[in-house]
């Protein structure tokens, strides 16, 4: 017993391109999953790293809460960086001033200032 799909040449090409596109997307998915964050000190984060995933460690120096429920941590290891806490799963964390923290996040820029948008947070 054999299965065959009768497609003319143009449809075969279209189907092949569709398959390549899906394989491409799958490849990108696995590549993204395996991206290792760049471990560095806060002071080493620079403009050219915008859009990269980094891992930083430091102490929460200041917590600012807004009326909308968002929080902004200032994390310091000698140098400072702002960590916006917009995701509800991170808002539940019992973070206080002076607590040491490890953050994996995306380097972004807001109004000219570099920030680390967290993807993972570990309180110590």
């Amino acid at each position: 017993m054999s299965f065959s799909i009768n497609l003319d040449r143009s449809k075969q090409i279209t189907f092949l391109i569709l398959l390549l596109a899906v394989f491409g997307l799958a490849g990108i998915y696995f590549a993204v999953k395996n991206i290792k964050p760049i471990e560095l000190e806060i002071g080493a984060i620079e403009d050219s790293m915008e859009g990269k995933i980094v891992k930083i460690a430091g102490r929460i120096d200041y917590i600012k809460k807004t009326s909308s429920g968002n929080m902004y941590w200032t994390v310091s290891d000698g140098s400072n960086i702002t960590v916006p806490i917009l995701d509800s799963k991170f808002k539940k964390l019992s973070a206080k001033r002076g607590v040491n923290v490890q953050i994996v996040g995306l380097v972004t820029k807001y109004k000219g200032e570099l920030e680390v948008m967290p993807k993972e947070i570990q309180l110590e």
Partner: protein, 379 residues
């Protein structure tokens, strides 16, 4: 002006270089210089899709109608249409100066919670206007696959955000056009009538005003929506409407900055960086600078049309294609590396697929629209 010829180099980079290293001490002069650079670039960036078939977020949709305008006369007409479109884009946004102070703060905050849902309705409409269920299915498929590509790439950390869209747009609209045009014979670009210009200007005005009020919408998304919702448009109308939207959007972004403090474009970012929060009188000043720069840029672009057109006819189209392919490949490999190659490959497959399936290339803008929708609905 030169930046327009260099695909992949953003005028924002040049503005920031000027802001950082210039000897200009007055913040007004710096901001005006940044405005002049950005506005003239908004005109000249349309040369890159015409000459090399390479587009960015704002000009990618011009690749198909403009590229292979091979003939000198056709190329000249394309440039004239783009110049007049850009100029009209600035002119149609000027009357909003009188209402901006009252309208923007009110409408901006009211529409913000609805952004995601408004975009969903627009996208459903975009797919719905395709002819027949078969085409609608293909259009939805292309939109979703492109959107998945955008979602995977966005905030992934693969490539620095400055260059993230480069391999995607080169793949979707650059490589795919270079690969698909093999047997295609295009008709020459015709002049555009006054009625067509008026209709396209109206569409550009509605689209850019609407987009300027919705956070998360940028030039690329606005162009895609205007082209889709605008029904079936001639190539000449597309070439007119894209610069009109691009320039109108940039002008309105200064009005939005002045009235709400929100940054909606790279130009608004530059101005805010130099000037801080704007007074309304300063906003009017910058809009005037935009109008003057737009007039000068449009004139220079029109003057350039003839010599560039002559140069085009002297070069064999085949070599121009090979050159375009080499430039695209160099940009992707040099700026984005292995991840960029993966993105460009997948984007090329999607671009070619949309042509094979016979659906409009605007559905590929799902790459920008779907992530915007997801961000707006979830956050």
């Amino acid at each position: 002006m030169g930046v327009g010829f260099i695909p992949g180099f953003s005028s924002n980079n040049l503005s920031m270089l000027v802001i950082t290293y210039s000897m200009i001490s007055s913040e007004y002069h710096l901001a005006v210089t940044a405005v002049a650079i950005e506005i003239s670039n908004s005109f000249f960036e349309f040369l890159s899709p015409m000459l090399f078939g390479i587009g960015n977020e704002a000009t990618a949709l011009a690749v198909d109608p403009a590229y292979e305008g091979i003939n000198e006369e056709s190329f000249k007409r394309s440039i004239n249409i783009v110049a007049s479109g850009g100029l009209v884009g600035v002119l149609i946004s000027l009357p909003l100066i009188f209402f901006a102070e009252k309208i923007y703060p009110l409408v901006y905050s009211s529409l913000k919670p609805l952004t995601g849902w408004i975009l969903i309705c627009i996208c459903i409409y975009m797919v719905w206007i395709e002819n027949g269920w078969r085409k609608r299915f293909f259009a939805a498929m292309i939109f979703c696959l492109s959107g998945i590509l955008g979602l995977l790439a966005k905030d992934s950390g693969m490539i620095s955000s400055e260059y993230l869209l480069l391999p995607i747009f080169i793949g979707l609209y650059g490589f795919s056009s270079l690969l698909s045009k093999k047997h295609e014979k295009k008709e020459l670009i015709q002049d555009i009538t006054f009625a067509e210009k008026a209709s396209a200007a109206g569409k550009a005005f509605i689209a850019s005003t609407f987009a300027s009020m919705i956070s998360g919408m940028k030039r690329g998304q606005t162009s895609a929506i205007a082209l889709q919702a605008g029904g079936v448009l001639k190539r000449e109308e597309v070439l007119f409407i894209l610069p009109a939207i691009s320039l109108a959007f940039v002008t309105l972004s200064i009005l939005v900055l002045g009235t709400t403090g929100k940054i909606r474009s790279s130009l608004a970012y530059d101005v805010q960086e130099v000037m801080g929060d704007l007074y309304f009188s300063q906003t009017v000043l910058f809009v005037s600078v935009i109008a003057v720069t737009a007039c000068i840029s449009a004139c220079i672009l029109v003057l350039l049309a003839r010599p560039l057109g002559r140069m085009m006819t002297k070069i064999d189209g085949k070599y121009l294609k090979i050159f375009g392919f080499c430039v695209c490949s160099f940009l992707v490999i040099n700026f984005t590396g292995i991840y960029g190659i993966m993105l460009a490959f997948t984007a090329t497959c999607l671009g070619v697929l949309s042509k094979q399936l016979g659906v409009r290339s605007t559905h590929l803008m799902g790459v920008l629209l779907l992530p915007t929708i997801v961000t707006a609905v979830i956050l």
